[in-house]
């Protein structure tokens, strides 16, 4: 337990998501991740005097899609605003963002609530803006190196209502957000590459209280595990302060995951005064009812609808349906094999079992699934047709996972097919009986354990190529 239940933690999230457009928001430079430093730059995105931004149409389309998928109202008349501050990652000394008329408002995402049931996390607004450059500390010179490749990559910032009460709820929301944005193809949401970053606003209050406590903000959290630890750590810190007569200061804190502790950041002098004003270099955007309806119709089936359908039509358990629909990749793996005729429940069992097991064992995310999706279905098909036993299938799957080999060929090459010729199985078992007369006598005198031993010996002699039921049946028949 992190704290006594006398306290309730209240959180809201600001999530920055990089859109997967081909080009930056205001210039034609590529948004490709990585690249040699300062090679994805032009006079516009490095803020040369006299240049003018030119808005990428796809950014507005993607933001509209995201808003609709997150059940938001779309703002018909949009403008950009200028947020002014001095920091070396921002070469213009201002960021073009949306303050007064964000593109989406009043949405929501349904998640599984802490303690069961479902709840809706409200989305206050989503706005479009540009990303900043990347700063790297250089120990050799004790200075900061700046790479502007990421500067101007389009972002949407998704601002939630303060509806979270636990770290689990935060993580479920982020997983759902990630799945939805991946489904609709507006972002790859790779946390390790920084294309999904979360700021957490956190306060605590006595359980049952309606008023909010003073909150702190933790910025740029980029792994689910770190988020879980940061929330636990910061809640405990605030509760400890309040229980010992202290007070929480409203401030931005940096979570140090190695030290498992948060630290107050030196407040940027007058950082709050961004002197926002309407961006004079960009023309307003009008989104018509027609475009909104078109976009709405173009959306694919979303995770929530899929989850319900998997349970009601395919008979999956609530848990399995929730887990599979939480990932675009797992859905693709599931649906491709389902379409090829694989039985739904068996397929779900394999995904939730072996696939998840090997992914977590190798420290991979579903996005990194290293084998052809069809291989899983082919393998399950062989089990269904009794061509291989279940235990053989697990071994073959390990090889498929590690080497992306074709399971059918692998079974052929390694001679793993179940012996279906009962005559051949019989011959092997007869040899086992002949070599284990003592156990045969014991069995005949009523010792059931002796039969288990003989089954084991036979299975070993058959090298797992016959299923235990057949072996047991033949043994019993031969032993009379």
């Amino acid at each position: 337990m992190y704290h006594t239940p006398a306290w309730e933690t209240v959180m809201g999230l600001e999530v920055h998501v990089e859109l997967s457009t081909k080009t930056k928001i205001f210039c034609g430079c590529t948004t490709a991740f990585g690249g040699e430093p300062n090679t994805h730059c032009c006079p516009i995105c490095i803020g040369m005097p006299g240049v003018l931004p030119s808005l990428n149409k796809a950014v507005v389309e993607y933001a509209t899609k995201a808003g609709l998928a997150l059940n938001c109202e779309i703002t018909r008349y949009n403008k950009f605003d200028r947020k002014n501050y001095f920091y070396p990652d921002l070469p213009k000394a201002y960021q073009i963002s949306q303050l007064y008329l964000p593109i989406c408002r009043n949405g929501g995402v349904e998640i599984e609530a802490e303690g069961g049931g479902r709840k809706v996390i409200g989305i206050h607004e989503i706005h479009m803006e540009e990303d900043a450059g990347k700063l790297v500390h250089d120990p050799a010179t004790n200075a900061t190196m700046v790479d502007y490749n990421r500067c101007g990559v389009p972002l949407i910032e998704i601002v939630s209502e303060p509806d979270f009460r636990s770290a689990n709820e935060v993580i479920r929301y982020l997983e759902k957000l990630k799945a939805i944005l991946q489904y609709i193809g507006v972002s790859d949401c790779k946390m390790q590459e920084g294309s999904l970053r979360a700021d957490i606003n956190l306060s605590v209050r006595p359980a049952g209280s309606e008023a909010f406590g003073t909150r702190t903000e933790m910025k740029n959290m980029n792994s689910f595990k770190a988020i879980g630890r940061a929330i636990a750590g910061e809640s405990a810190r605030q509760i400890h302060l309040l229980e010992h007569g202290g007070a929480v200061t409203q401030e931005t804190r940096r979570w140090d995951d190695d030290k498992n502790e948060s630290f107050a950041m030196r407040s940027k002098e007058d950082a709050q005064d961004y002197k926002y004003f309407p961006e004079p270099d960009l023309i307003p955007i009008e989104i018509s009812e027609e475009v909104i309806e078109q976009t709405r119709r173009s959306l694919p089936e979303l995770p929530e609808a899929k989850r319900r359908r998997y349970v009601s039509e395919l008979g999956l358990s609530e848990y399995d349906a929730e887990q599979i629909t939480a990932s675009k990749v797992l859905v693709a793996l599931f649906e491709q094999n389902l379409a090829a005729g694989c039985p739904a429940k068996e397929l779900a069992n394999w995904i939730m079992g072996e696939v998840m097991h090997l992914l977590s064992e190798s420290g991979k995310e579903p996005e990194d699934i290293p084998f052809d999706y069809g291989s899983l279905g082919a393998l399950i098909g062989m089990v269904e047709k009794n061509e291989i036993t279940r235990s053989t299938a697990k071994k073959v799957f390990k090889a498929v996972f590690e080497e992306n080999c074709d399971p059918v060929e692998y079974v052929e090459q390694h001679n793993l097919k179940t012996v279906t010729d009962t005559g051949a199985v019989k011959t092997v078992i007869e040899e086992v009986i002949a070599a284990n007369q003592k156990s045969v006598e014991e069995y005949k005198s009523g010792k059931e354990k002796a039969l288990q031993y003989l089954i084991g010996q036979s299975m070993r002699a058959l090298r797992g190529k016959a299923d235990p039921q057949t072996v047991t049946a033949i043994l019993k028949e031969l032993l009379g």
Binding site: C27, P37, C41, K57, T141, N142
Partner: protein, 95 residues
């Protein structure tokens, strides 16, 4: 609104500049005059009029999402006062 000496100091901080001592009084006076000039606009009745952010009667000026060549890093870094490899080098900005 009064442009006080403290406000001038605050504006210096926001703009990351330091005015020469002899210019402060003039800056304070100029800023006050600019504000007064703008205040004359408040004499107009703007009830029910949408704020205008652009003089052009245009909306939706957008480009297609097609990659254009970037410029070589040599040009990107041409004006950098200090560089290291192909990075700009700036005073330490981490805590």
């Amino acid at each position: 609104m009064m442009i006080t000496d403290e406000l001038v100091t605050y504006l210096e901080a926001l703009g990351r500049i330091r005015l020469p001592e002899e210019s402060r009084a003039k800056a304070q006076r100029d800023l006050q005059e600019i504000l007064q000039y703008i205040d004359t606009l408040s004499e107009l009745d703007t009830e029910g009029i949408e704020p205008l952010s652009h003089a052009l009667p245009l909306t939706n000026v957008m480009r297609e999402d097609e990659v254009q060549p970037s410029i070589p890093p040599e040009e990107v870094l041409a004006n950098a006062p200090v560089r290291k490899d192909n990075y700009f080098l700036v005073p330490r900005s981490f805590e």
